[in-house]
Point group: D2
Chain length 344, copies 4
């Protein structure tokens, strides 16, 4: 059994990762850390772990020492130093924060307000979207696990971009996320009576996932891509659905594009291209590592609408991190991730 | 007191209209009709009316006879004949269905699968968006009350279109509605366990509100407008929010456009243009006749994002119908509509 | 127009009171206060007030000076001094907190951890349950507005207790409340992802409303009453429903008891005893000052089940406070409270 | 691999059973049946099964023929004949409906309006509450899987009843269930806009689970037990929580009773008695086969409050059925049921 450590285990992403890894057939959790709850049993912080694990929160140092694979689930800016230590000790590090997602330090500074603290290890990190970078991930020991919104958009657009079918200056991503994406920190926006029975966008034109989306789409297109990205907050717990509007270079033949998508993803264990006529819905991916994609026409002839949905906590965070680990360690890619969404 | 009749009082729109009119200072409800519940007290169908009214559901004929103003809240195709009778008896008719919303019979047939049954009265009907057609509404006795989605989009875009600031071939309307928009009819999509905790678009590229939106926007622009319109279903009861993406002809000066909106709507009792930096949210318009609009920039310089939100049952249906009635009868436009959203 | 002041206007109860009073035909809001938001417009704190009022938060002193009737919506322990000042200035004070609800200082100290700070004014205060104390309220200038849970239970049991029909040592009140009852303060329990899709009791056997319920029921019974009271938190915004189990002294004749209830409440504008066979439901009282009561038999012959429901923010707080004000000022008791629940 | 069949696979209980069994390590699904969807792929009825299984709905006869263990998930009254055929073919039958839950035919007729159609096989059936009947279940081939509400109440009270600690004529069970308990059939009560943001009891004093609860509690007490049972509908998908009020024969020593519960359930894989001071909550058992029980005192000295919660679709239906199958087949009792609740 490979020994796993989770740094930042008491945030939502850390807790979800723990939940999933406790059912993984080939790993064991060696240690957890939490600054806020050091010394406490995790089942005291999250009651769902009662009688499921006796693990106690330790320090980050303890976790690095005891583990072969280290997952970091920390606010941005706090993973770099830990990753450095992990790499220096020949461990694998999978960062679920934003520290290694942008390759360009200036862009990072622009959006996150700080420079890289460990610039020398950035070059060796790989953006952990398996459908794009599987071969590189296999050889890598420092993974930048993708953001939740970007995962929906990047998987939703990859076949169009790789085949140069759409215009790169008119991509509109209207994305909607459940509240777990905002984490466990208390805010008025996520106070139940304020968030229940309402809906609104937030950070319009200013969300930090924008440069990540643009960088990855540009890699796919081999050209600079600009997107309009608007996140909205849904009064549900889990799930992201992105409705993506693209202008095509030619008149759309939806059946051909659908075939292209089916072919592009036919060997992917977690990406399902729905039959034409069906519409992707959050409920069918909830609590799974799956991404569902549906393709649609408007009556305009040079536009395609892509609907792409995932569970933000699984394929959008902890599940994709496990998928990356499975690839690196040579496990079955679906180990620990054979999940079926509850129908209700 | 003006005598009011509601035909189709036991659907959601009819019931909401009744609720609002019972508090209107200048009218009294003379009669209600319902095919399914004829002979029953409305408070037996909707328990919220217990001890609030003793009205009993009668026939449509009874309603026409007893009322000065007749509101029709019927499935499409059923209002035309009633409107004809009402007009012939010199009554006012406000149709909350789709029968008179499209001026073009071919377009109507294309989307609704039938021809006009009373073609001669269509010419005298007015599209009841007061912010666009107030003067005409005043002189009219047959109102086509706007659809819920169209109201958000039309109010959201009117100043841009009237001032020819945006391109007419690249308008994208990503709209999200609460479940009351689907009405009282039972469907699997609105079965609680199926709709709760999920989110998805529906009728992508094929919703019947599309031609209504395009016709009205074209009137505003004095040119043919095409829109991409995607409706989504939110797991909440009330409210619609549309996120609208427009390509501008010139580089956007957001402050100037904001001034334009403020000026355009400064005398409108129900349209609020939010200060720059704020974001429109369903909760602040819920249970009111208000429309909140906020304006946003992306980093693209030739695009503006408009967020427009209403309560689909009030400004999107029953409230706007009352507003039209107030205008026709020479009442204060806000009579019966001085509503403040519950903060929670 | 009577001049009204609200002290503590930015908590949920204060904001709800403001919303309701802005539609009251016979009063005007003279001033608001808030410690946290002094100097700010209330519409900046609660966006639903945008364009509905320009009121700015002032100090408590300002409010007392400018107003004839002062409502206090404060955490327990903070209303006494303000009430003293108001009384000394010959103003009317309606306290929506707990400071004057218990007549017994020892009981108060036991549950609230402090003694009365203005013991001399307690004797002149009246518990503001109009259905019990209307005559006394009329003559009073210091009202202890009832708690939300107690209102459901007291109205639910009054006819049984006044007629000595039930045993006083075996009353079980299983109560469920929406989240607005917990107020605007941020807690993990009311963090959306933690409260959504779950349900649990809280403070079992230890909720501060217990002594208030017992004192008032004892007044009704003219004998000491003990209750078992268990509050639960519902994942909805508004509404309380109490399911109350009573052992009767004799075999139950449900029709006779129903007649007794109907007679007891026949002149009450806000209490509706449902026909036998119907079941009270939160949705029919939401956003109103109404209390719905339904009566039920189990197969046990010496037990009656009473279901009693209100909107916790209206009849359970701000609405009942207005009802008390209307009584004191000689207005129609329903002024500003002619509200019909939205059916959906 | 043992061959499994599900009769009635397209109802909520059948679909949940399929979801869970697809991850069971020691069985394979041989066949499904559905009257309404015969001939269709189950993934066409429930989209969450897309790419998870290709199973097609067949007839009940097909299922019986192809399977070693047959689960019936049918409306009451339809399982008896199928069970007869299964038994006659030496198969195991686990009925998730009500047909075999009551041993007394008169009681059954009273509540279900019909007599037993296969009276001779009733004697060989066992009530499948493993914590009560494990030894008998092991030897049995016809299981009456318990109802959802009864499971919470029976597990919640078993230690008190077996030790004769409470009075048997004053047990009050106030139970609250998510909407999946009502199944997939469309009703106005479970129409989203009608059920969202509300709460109410239903079938007060008249729910069919009452005789099942009373029969099983009587077995535990070895004496006739009567309960007051009130079900309520929660606006959530999953979970039941029962708040149970018992009068004790002596003054309560909560710590001793807690010890008794801990001892009673210490070898039970799915029943967790929470530490004193904690309160059971639906969210910690959601999507698991666990039952959480917490014990509480009121200030009354002769009363104990038990809070008991399960996921109605798992321990309350499909999960418990699998637990019964595991026992009969000699598997680990937790096979396929090692589930951890999502924390959010």
């Amino acid at each position: 059994m490979t020994k796993i450590g989770i740094i930042g285990a008491t945030g939502y992403v850390g807790a979800e990762l723990l939940r999933l890894l406790l059912s993984h057939p080939k790993v064991e959790i060696a240690a957890l850390s939490s600054v806020s709850f050091e010394g406490q049993e995790i089942s005291n912080v999250y009651k769902n772990f009662l009688n499921k694990t006796n693990l106690v929160c330790e320090t980050a140092e303890d976790v690095i020492e005891k583990s072969d694979v280290i997952f970091t689930a920390l606010p941005h800016g706090l993973s770099e130093d830990i990753a450095k230590k992990a790499i220096d000790s020949n461990k694998i590090c999978i960062d679920m924060g934003a520290d290694f997602r942008l390759s360009n330090e200036e862009e990072y500074e622009l959006w996150y307000g700080k420079k890289f603290t460990q610039p020398e290890i950035h070059a060796s990190s790989i953006y952990g979207l398996p459908e794009l970078n599987r071969a590189k991930i296999k050889e890598c020991s420092l993974i930048a696990n993708p953001g939740c919104y970007p995962t929906t958009i990047e998987l939703g657009l990859m076949p169009l971009l790789k085949n140069s079918l759409i215009k790169l200056d008119n991509i509109i991503c209207d994305s909607k996320s459940g509240t777990t994406g905002a984490g466990r920190g208390l805010t008025l926006n996520t106070h139940f009576p304020e968030e229940n029975e309402t809906f609104a966008p937030y950070k319009v034109g200013a969300h930090r996932h924008t440069p990540e989306i643009e960088e990855t789409l540009s890699v796919m297109a081999k050209e600079k891509v600009n997107v309009t990205f608007t996140p909205h907050l849904l009064p549900i717990n889990r799930g992201i659905l992105s409705t993506i509007y693209c202008s095509t270079k030619d008149t759309v033949n939806l059946e051909e594009i659908h075939k292209l998508y089916v072919a592009a993803y036919k060997d992917e264990p977690f990406v399902n291209v729905l039959p034409l006529g069906e519409i992707a819905s959050i409920k069918n991916v909830r609590l799974t590592n799956d991404c569902h994609i549906s393709l649609h026409l408007n009556h305009r002839k040079d536009q395609i609408i892509v609907v792409s949905t995932i569970d933000n906590m699984v394929k959008g965070a902890a599940g994709q991190a496990i998928q990356n680990m499975n690839i690196i360690l040579g496990f079955e890619e679906t180990d620990g991730l054979n999940l079926i969404a509850p129908a209700f």
